[in-house]
């Protein structure tokens, strides 16, 4: 596998060019589709999976949107490489076969072109996804939808007049659309308002998850907010609704930050500088500590209490300090005891490069 084939490593969204990108890191759109007449993953035999991949690959080659896509055959890749793709949010843990001692199943693949990827033989035959910088639901949806429309003309999708797009799990049926934003909410966490906001989400048909989606824990005050239901509303309605609520959450976060600045300006300033100081000088850093320190620095940069680093650098640090990325960079295994030392050295290097 050669990740350098991917421009920006498949992560153009890191560049922080999108709207509200100090608070909203990224916007993600996912569409679930299945090939008509082939059993879903639960029931599919290896031959079915391989047939799905063949159909999707053939369609991709003759398509405009995926004509020069880079293909990753996960069942032919080593675990560390698969983990790197997962850490970049390009494949799910399930597809990459990273759960406990599992292996990727035959036909498990990822196609990537520009900012759109297609996971093949995940829970559904196709999971089209795209990640955009900042808070940009409309652009992200338009792009993923264009790929979907083109693929749907080349591969027959399972569709039902009443139930819409048919998916392996009925929680995704209808539009098959999951729209989500990755949002940084330290203000609401520090002012202890976060639980109220999260409870409110469930009342408006939205849900939240941690940094890596379903089943993952919240680290570094990063939350993924997304729609809960996928049927009975149009794609635009689902996206508008999520957009409306996210705008409100961003507003609450900004208000919480104002409260912090008004009521405890010195404490906040001290906290962000300490986080920056530790990142710049620590000799060993765990992944979790790094996430929490990056959260503090990001808050300081957002509040203009710190002169730097730039949001792009902070985003890069989020990705490249993860275990598989560090291990690959330094030729080690992800379980290497020296990884915290390697991590601290890498963080120092990137921060020094930026300030020089």
């Amino acid at each position: 596998m050669d990740l350098s084939l991917l421009p920006d490593g498949g992560m153009r969204w890191l560049d922080a060019s999108g709207p509200k990108s100090t608070i909203v890191l990224s916007t993600r759109i996912r569409l679930a589709r299945n090939v008509r007449g082939i059993p879903f993953s639960q029931r599919a035999k290896d031959a079915d999976r391989i047939a799905v991949l063949a159909r999707v690959s053939d369609a991709a080659v003759s398509s405009e949107h995926l004509g020069s896509a880079v293909a990753f055959h996960l069942d032919q890749m080593d675990r560390p490489e698969r983990q790197v793709l997962h850490e970049r949010h390009l494949v799910s843990k399930e597809l990459a076969g990273l759960e406990r001692e599992s292996r990727p199943r035959p036909g498990a693949a990822l196609l990537v072109q520009d900012q759109v990827g297609v996971m093949v033989n995940e829970e559904d035959h196709l999971r089209l996804h795209g990640m955009w910088s900042g808070f940009d639901l409309e652009d992200a949806y338009a792009e993923v939808e264009a790929v979907d429309a083109e693929l749907g003309r080349l591969v027959p999708f399972a569709f039902h007049q009443e139930f819409g797009y048919l998916t392996s799990c009925p929680t995704n049926a209808g539009t098959g659309l999951r729209a989500s934003v990755l949002i940084h909410l330290p203000g609401l966490v520090l002012t202890k308002e976060i639980n109220k906001v999260l409870q409110g989400l469930s009342q408006v048909g939205l849900t939240f998850r941690g940094l890596y989606g379903e089943g993952s824990e919240v680290v570094g005050n990063f939350f993924q907010l997304s729609n809960q239901t996928t049927l009975g509303k149009t794609e635009d309605e689902l996206i508008d609704h999520l957009g409306k609520i996210v705008r409100q959450v961003v507003e609450y976060e900004e208000q919480a930050r104002d409260v912090l600045l008004r009521t405890a300006p010195e404490e906040v300033e001290d906290k962000t500088w300490r986080a920056y100081g530790l990142l710049k000088h620590a000799r060993r850093l765990s992944f979790e500590e790094t996430m929490n320190l990056l959260s503090g620095v990001r808050l300081g940069v957002g509040l203009k209490l710190l002169p730097g680093p730039g949001v792009y650098t902070l985003n890069k640090l989020l990705i490249y300090t993860q275990p598989a990325h560090l291990a690959a960079m330094d030729g080690r295994s992800t379980g290497d005891r020296e990884l915290p030392t390697v991590r601290a050295a890498f963080v120092r290097r990137l921060l020094e490069a930026e300030s020089s």
Binding site: P39, H160, Q161, G164, P170, K196, Q203, T229, G232, T234
Partner: protein, 172 residues
């Protein structure tokens, strides 16, 4: 004003209840209001499904567990999976399962999403000249019209809604 219930915290919610033809207004603080089951997230839109779905997800259960066991023996002729398999795994075997188990799934979809009628993008199978699977048959026309009616009512376009309603009546 102090909360009528705990008499400690400030009342921020006025709860009006009608009991035996008389109106009683309670002034409650946020905590007491929540204990009485009043939603206090005032500004936000509400969906009756939110809490229910949240409970399903938090309980670690799958959507399949919501289907009653009475249909367990039903089998999809296309892939061979039974409704029991779905109840256990939460995953369907193939696209035909949606037809084989349609009564159970319609009910489940309504509970999960508040509706079983897809109103989003329509899809035409490749090579069918722009018309999807049976798009011309009255049933699918009817479904499409109902979806349009729903959008018209939501958009408060009542003139269009009335016209659509008439067309639906003719088809029905």
């Amino acid at each position: 004003m102090l909360c009528d219930n705990c008499k400690e915290r400030d009342a921020i919610i006025n709860l009006t209840q009608v009991e035996h033809d008389s109106k009683v207004t309670l002034h409650l603080c946020e905590e007491c209001a929540q204990q009485k089951g009043v939603e206090t997230g005032g500004a936000v839109l509400k969906s009756p499904l939110g809490n229910f779905l949240g409970a399903v997800v938090k309980g670690g259960g799958t959507a399949g567990a919501l289907v009653p066991a009475s249909g367990d023996a039903l089998r999809c002729p296309a892939c061979g999976s039974t409704l029991r398999d779905f109840r256990d795994s939460g995953r369907l075997g193939c696209d035909r399962c949606y037809v084989s188990f349609d009564t159970h799934l319609r009910d489940l979809l309504r509970r999960l999403h508040g509706s079983s009628q897809h109103v989003g993008e329509r899809y035409d199978l490749p090579g069918e000249g722009g018309n999807g699977e049976g798009a011309d048959d009255p049933r699918s026309q009817l479904l499409e019209l109902k979806a349009q009616l729903r959008r018209a009512v939501e958009g408060e376009n009542f003139e269009l809604a009335a016209e659509l309603r008439d067309r639906i009546r003719v088809l029905e």
